[in-house]
Structures are given as structure tokens and as C-alpha cells.
């Protein structure tokens, strides 16, 4: 506050005004004088913030100035970073939003599938030359965490950090545990890394949904494309090659009935819902813990506002950017 008074006194002496506003003090014309006097008075090296009327002013250690209306400032502090008011998730999808990220949890009931699966006599384990065959197997409850985030310049779209899990019952609580999915191309990463726990390989995801200008269409298209990639494209051993293991390979020992794709087919044929009795590999994570882990890995949370420098970041990150020491643009 002393600083504000000092600035006002300086300005008053110069202009003869009785009570100038800070916007006037920060006027481009006077900037050089004010900043040089600030430095001359032994200004510290930190950021400084001032309030005057309904505006907040920031001065950087270099003397760069900016301002923002208090209304805009508090809007930025409290408003969600993404407006999902015109987005309707597909039926049954649960959604979480934090900062610049959105997670859709898609759940599908136990069903028989007809997959394109690498053939036992395939010469290649993945890529060119890989031979596939159709396999009919039942899956238990399938959970897909479709992860959306804002990419420059402010475009919310599906990321490549999507994950899949199994369960033997429907999700009815955030504390429900999820199991690793015994599927090829669902890659295993160490739990203590910042990688997904069960990454869906989406290297060749059809990203035509990115051309959608409508956010609702883009998000729904992203989920559709992700499911198509997971369930309708060929399963092979690329995870074993690139990441070390898939959850199919890791799960083989948990139950004789899923130890090979052939035994899985046979068990599905004789008792389709046997998949609800299989002791799938426990992930040790609940639905909520998976969601929080994804948000953490994405650094989705809005950075905390603790210092004047944090306030300055908000002021200077406005679009359109404020001109240095030209708060009148906002008045």
C-alpha cells in the first residue's frame, strides 16, 4: 500500500492531480519515469501487485507492467478451464474434469466378442507379415478410461494416455477396484512410473475426430475411435516388443481357462460368463485412484496461486495479452 501511495504522490507532484488512478500511473507515456523512479527507490527483485478501484496491477522485476479487472481475475481463478456445457457423454459414461483434462469412464457389460487375434503360426509377432485369425471370446466388464486434454491452442481432444481394465461386476462406487485386462496391446508399465497402468496402444488411432469443430462431436468421435482401435483392430505382440509385456501375457497364469487364446475360446463356448469367476490380476487401484493418477500424470490440476509471480502469470497470460503498462486497453 505504501508503494501505491508513493506512486500517487509522485504522480501528483508531476501532474498536480489530487487522486490519480493507477491506470493513469501505468499509462504508457509515464511508464519510463515511474519505473525508473521505482528502481531508484531501491525496489526489490520480486513481483509486485497493486489494487486500484476494480483493477489489479502487476509489475515484474524487469519493470514490465500489466493489469486485469478484478472480475476477469476471479473468473479465471474459479472458472473451469474447459466449458463442457454443450457436451453430452454417451449413455452410461461417467465423466471427471480437473483443470485442463477430462476423463470419460466407459463401461461395457460382459459380452462375447469376435476379435482379430494374432494366429499361432504367424511368422511375425506384429507389423508387416503378421497373420491373424478370428477368435470368439467373452470378456467380463470392460472399463475404458478415455483421457481428453487441452492441446495448444486450447483444443480439447483425446490424448494417447488411455487405459483399459476389467471388472467382475459393474462399477457402482469410486472405491471399486479395477483389474488388469488380459488383452494383448494393453501395455504394462511400472506402477511407480508416471506412465499409464494399462496403456491402450493407440499408435495408429484414426484421429479424424480432431477435424470436428464441435466439442461434443469431437469428444464422442474420440471415444468411438478409441473403442474401435481397442476392440476392432488386430491384437498382436507389439506391447511385448515395445513395452516389455501386455496384460494378456502377464495374466496367463491366473486361470487355466485364459492361459491361451484357444482355452479362452473353449471356455467361452461352454460357459460364456466364466469370465466373472476368473481371478483377474488385481491392480491395487480403485476407479477413483486411477482417475486421480491420470490427472496427476497429466499435471491437470490448475497450478496453485501462492505468490505474486503466480498472479503475474495469470495477468500476462490473458488473451489477448495485455500490452505492457497499457491497462487502458482493459478499461
Amino acid at each position: 500500500m505504501k508503494r501505491v501511495l508513493l506512486l500517487r504522490q509522485q504522480f501528483t507532484r508531476q501532474k498536480g492531480s489530487t487522486k490519480p488512478s493507477l491506470s493513469a500511473l501505468f499509462n504508457q507515456k509515464k511508464r519510463g519515469t515511474i519505473i525508473s523512479r521505482m528502481k531508484a527507490h531501491g525496489m526489490n527483485n520480486g513481483y509486485e501487485i497493486y489494487f486500484d478501484k476494480d483493477y489489479l496491477y502487476v509489475v515484474t522485476p524487469e519493470g514490465k507492467c500489466g493489469s486485469i479487472s478484478l472480475e476477469s481475475f476471479f473468473d479465471k481463478m474459479t472458472a473451469p478451464q474447459t466449458d463442457l456445457s454443450r457436451v453430452i457423454p454417451p449413455k452410461g459414461v461417467r465423466a471427471w474434469m480437473l483443470g485442463n483434462a477430462v476423463i470419460w469412464l466407459y463401461e461395457r457389460e460382459p459380452q462375447p466378442y469376435n476379435f482379430k487375434w494374432i494366429a499361432g503360426d504367424s511368422a511375425s509377432r506384429f507389423g508387416r507379415g503378421t497373420k491373424y485369425r478370428e477368435v470368439s471370446i467373452t470378456l467380463p466388464y470392460l472399463l475404458v478410461f478415455a483421457v481428453f486434454a487441452i492441446v495448444p491452442p486450447g483444443h480439447l481432444t483425446l490424448t494417447s494416455a488411455n487405459e483399459a481394465f476389467f471388472r467382475t461386476g459393474p462399477v457402482s462406487s469410486p472405491d471399486d477396484e479395477v483389474y488388469f485386462p488380459a488383452l494383448l496391446n494393453c501395455s504394462k508399465f511400472p506402477k511407480d512410473s508416471d506412465r499409464p497402468l494399462s496403456w491402450i496402444c493407440t499408435q495408429y488411432l484414426d484421429r479424424s475426430f480432431d477435424r470436428e469443430h464441435d466439442l461434443n462431436a469431437r469428444m464422442r468421435g474420440g471415444l468411438k475411435s478409441l473403442l474401435r482401435c481397442l476392440l476392432e483392430s488386430g491384437f498382436n505382440y507389439s506391447s511385448e516388443h515395445h513395452e516389455g509385456a501386455s496384460w494378456f501375457s502377464e495374466s496367463r497364469h491366473v486361470d487355466e481357462r485364459i492361459s491361451t487364446i484357444e482355452t479362452w475360446e473353449a471356455a467361452s463356448k461352454s460357459k460364456p460368463l466364466f469370465v466373472l469367476d476368473v481371478p483377474w490380476l488385481k491392480s491395487g487401484f480403485t476407479v477413483n485412484q486411477v482417475v486421480q493418477r491420470i490427472f496427476k500424470n497429466l499435471k491437470a490440476a490448475r497450478p496453485p496461486i501462492k505468490t505474486a509471480a503466480d498472479v503475474a502469470r495469470i495477468v500476462f497470460n490473458q488473451r489477448p495479452a495485455t500490452s505492457p503498462c497499457d491497462p487502458d486497453l482493459l478499461l
Binding site: M97, N114, E134, S172, R220, S233
Partner: protein
Amino acid sequence: MNERNKHQEQQSGGGGIGSLFDDDEEQSGDLVTVTSGPHVEHLPVSDMSVGEIRTRFSDRFDIDPRSVAVLDGHDVNDDVVVRAGQALMFMHRAGEKGRAKDVKREP
């Protein structure tokens, strides 16, 4: 953590009051599970052919006319009649995952 949770929102897509507790509902044995992409519904379409279902629900389920029909895990043509309790899925079985050997893969 509390601060973070405060800014976190959860929404749920759903089909209105009647489906709020779908998880607890007994599924009727007269229905057929129809799936296409993210759309899954239990519908009273038993005794209809796959082709009739494809036509009738093409818009609502965004069913591609070129998609393959999979009934209880096996490919079927449009003439097959669907029975109660069966699961019908429309899908495109195409492409493969992770086909390039030298392309960098990053989650």
C-alpha cells in the same frame, strides 16, 4: 488434496430417472443386447433379422452399413434372425495395433 477435489467435477451421462440405478435392475430375458461403437442397449428386437435391426437403428446407433454383424461372438449375415438373450454387435474388423517396428510409441 481437498483443494484439488473442490475444483474437480463429476458428471454422468444417463438416460433419465428410469436408468439411474440400471446396475440394480434385472435384465429382461426378452431383450437383445445391441452394440455399435460406444452405444449399447438392451432392446426388444427378438425375432427380427439382423438386417431389420441394422436398418431400424442405423441412426440411433450410428451403424455403418458396411459394418460386420457379430451375433454371440460369430459373424452372421443380415438374414439371420436374432433371439432373446443374444448379443448383437456391429463392428469394423480392420487394421491392427502397433504395427510399426521403429516408430516411437509414447503414451
